[in-house]
């Protein structure tokens, strides 16, 4: 499984997001999976990667929380919603765990 965290320096949520991803990996028994950090430095890189905000977490290349079609691409902090409706700069831990479990199952099926 490939877990990638795309981040931009203008947003202070990178450390929190990395911690949240690592905790979620541990929770679902995937402690050995490394989180690859990838900095998005400018608008060009944002356009190239379809970056809709920091942090963006890709699991096997798929956005953990797929962005809306009209979500603007660019250097910004990403808005997530917790399951209780609160706005957050980091995905809900349950969403993280769910996405990781699903990815692990897909990987198992492919074997």
């Amino acid at each position: 499984m490939n877990v990638e965290l795309l981040w931009w320096e203008g947003c202070p949520s990178t450390d929190g997001a990395l911690t949240a991803v690592r905790e979620a990996l541990t929770d679902v028994g995937l402690d050995g999976v490394e989180v690859h950090m990838r900095e998005i430095k400018d608008d060009g890189e944002a356009a190239e990667t379809g970056f809709v905000g920091s942090p963006t977490i890709l699991i096997d290349g798929v956005d953990l929380v797929p962005a809306a079609a009209d979500e603007p691409i660019g250097l910004s902090c990403r808005v997530y919603r917790r399951r209780d409706g609160r706005v957050s700069p980091i995905p809900d831990p349950d969403d993280l765990r769910e996405a990781l479990r699903a990815a692990a199952e897909r990987a198992e099926v492919k074997r």
Binding site: G10, C11, P12, S13, P72, G74, S76, C77, R78, V79, Y80, R86, V87, S88, P89
Partner: protein, 176 residues
């Protein structure tokens, strides 16, 4: 450059979403003014917004004025355009004006860094508090306590125990 504690906050003249012009001078005699740099697209600003709204409501009867200011570059961040600000205020119930700092001069003069970035000025217009609304954007139970502490101290004429905290949020989007 950044406004420091005890300095008089620069005056300004900015339009709100209703087309009304606001300035600090208008608040001569008000016991305290909160200037909060905020925006439409930042998750930190959005997470703290309801708490700031509640502060505006809770302290209005005591003469405290809250001014929300959006200084982000709307060319690169259309969600922070004046039109988008108007749409947001029309949809939501704001007890405070939402001002557009189109030239970003006010944000630069105050030394605002992120959204939200809170500045509390006393009756003389001197900066008494600068920083975050409270210690945790993710906990509504915090109720913007640092801001409330600052306002209570200013209103009672007592010394602030915590005049500065580190503002936490999205960087202000400066024009190139």
């Amino acid at each position: 450059m950044s406004l420091t504690i005890g300095e008089v906050g620069p005056d300004f003249s900015l339009l709100d979403t209703e087309g009304r012009k606001w300035s600090m001078a208008e608040y001569d005699g008000a016991p305290a003014t909160v200037v909060v740099f905020t925006c439409n697209h930042c998750p930190y600003a959005l997470a703290w917004h309801d708490r700031l709204v509640q502060v505006a409501r809770d302290y209005a009867a005591r003469g405290v004025r809250v001014l929300a200011v959006n200084a982000n570059d709307a060319d690169r961040y259309p969600r922070d355009s004046f039109e988008a600000m108007k749409e947001r205020v029309a949809k939501e119930d704001w007890p405070m004006p939402y001002l557009h700092d189109a030239t970003q001069e006010v944000a630069r003069e105050y030394g605002a860094k992120v959204t939200p970035d809170v500045f509390v000025l006393d009756a003389e217009g001197r900066l008494r508090y600068r920083g975050a609304p409270d210690s945790d954007y993710g906990n509504p139970g915090e109720r913007a306590e640092w801001l409330r502490e600052a306002l209570d101290a200013v209103l009672s004429g007592s010394i602030l125990q915590r005049p500065e905290t580190r503002p936490v949020g999205c960087s202000i989007k400066w024009k190139a």
